[in-house]
Symmetry: C2
Subunit: 204 residues, 2 copies
Amino acid sequence: MAIKERKEREKQEMRNLIIESATQLFLKQGYDKTSIRSIADDIEYSPATIYLYFKDKDEIFFVIHENAFEILEQHLRRNDVIADPFERLAGLGRTYIEFGLQNPDYYDLMFIMRAPMEQIKNEEKWKSGECAFGYLLTTLSACLEESKIRQGDLYVTAIQVWSFVHGLVSLYVRGRMCILMMPDDATREILYNSFDLFLANLKK
Amino acid sequence: MAIKERKEREKQEMRNLIIESATQLFLKQGYDKTSIRSIADDIEYSPATIYLYFKDKDEIFFVIHENAFEILEQHLRRNDVIADPFERLAGLGRTYIEFGLQNPDYYDLMFIMRAPMEQIKNEEKWKSGECAFGYLLTTLSACLEESKIRQGDLYVTAIQVWSFVHGLVSLYVRGRMCILMMPDDATREILYNSFDLFLANLKK
DNA sequence: GCATTTACTAAACAGTGTTTATTATATTCA
DNA sequence: TGAATATAATAAACACTGTTTAGTAAATGC
């Protein structure tokens, strides 16, 4: 009965096809313009077919959201080679900001948009988020143990770091940094300077 | 020719009626469910009439966005009585966070959603945002002058403070704080503790 | 009192996410 | 192999959305 397995494989391939098309359209045109109909058009199937492979639009974008987390994690992992935990923390932060600035649509989906979080409510847990947050917790824990940063509750410190870098990136990607009335590259400069200052204040 | 003035007054009254209805629906049901048709239904006019008073949906929500800034400013102004600039800064931050937590929909419109910012592109300047940011700049300037906080560039420091409090609030209102796996009030506790720690690190 | 401007709306347009009933194909079993 | 069943795909519809157009009724100007 290899037919069942082939069918399962074909089903997965179709899911991949849909996700690949949706991802491409999403990165090119954004969330709103990536309609079920436009995906169907792209893969040359009818819109109704997509609903045989995904419950709704949210489920499609939840998968894209998870793929984006895998990409971020690949970037973050490059800091594993840094021995000093404080420098590793600095690396993680800069990597996070850089990822956000260079992949604003992915960042949006991961940390700003409501759509993928609706899916989490059903799944109870935000696995992707917890994994990335885990990196931060581990690094901060090492920093505290080696007294590289000011003493304080681990979770409070973690939220502090995350909130700060998220604030920088999200104000930027959602157009609020226009308040500085500076060209784009100067605004980015301020972003990184601001992060450096933050690190300096955190250091022991 | 008092007729012209009456007409102008009536036009403004109609605009107010639309904004009041839209605001009420927005705070009750959120942005997406506040459709032009639902507003029209509420004020007992046809949907097309709304377009005689507003260019599009964005323009309506831009006005609501501006009204929200006025409310925030009223809250922020209560800190004017605090003489010590550092304590005033602390007050401003806490007021900002509190406003965000208690008015998540307004906060969304002011600092997260793209809709009202489309309007700013046409108007060139984000007046509401600049006004609120001005409060922060003035207070920080006083802090620096009296050496209440670590020395540093005014704008870099301002972005640092704003990004941090925005990060806290926006991660919360967009459901990412679920990562802490804590009840809502405990999460809020962490938020405020995190802000206190931030202030302590900033203090000279 | 008549012409003109203003205020309003019904209906349509072009989209959206999603569901249902139907058809064509593939698989199973006698 | 041939009939019965299960699967895959779709056309069409449903209930929405923001927005525009053409036409009507009332208020205003002369």
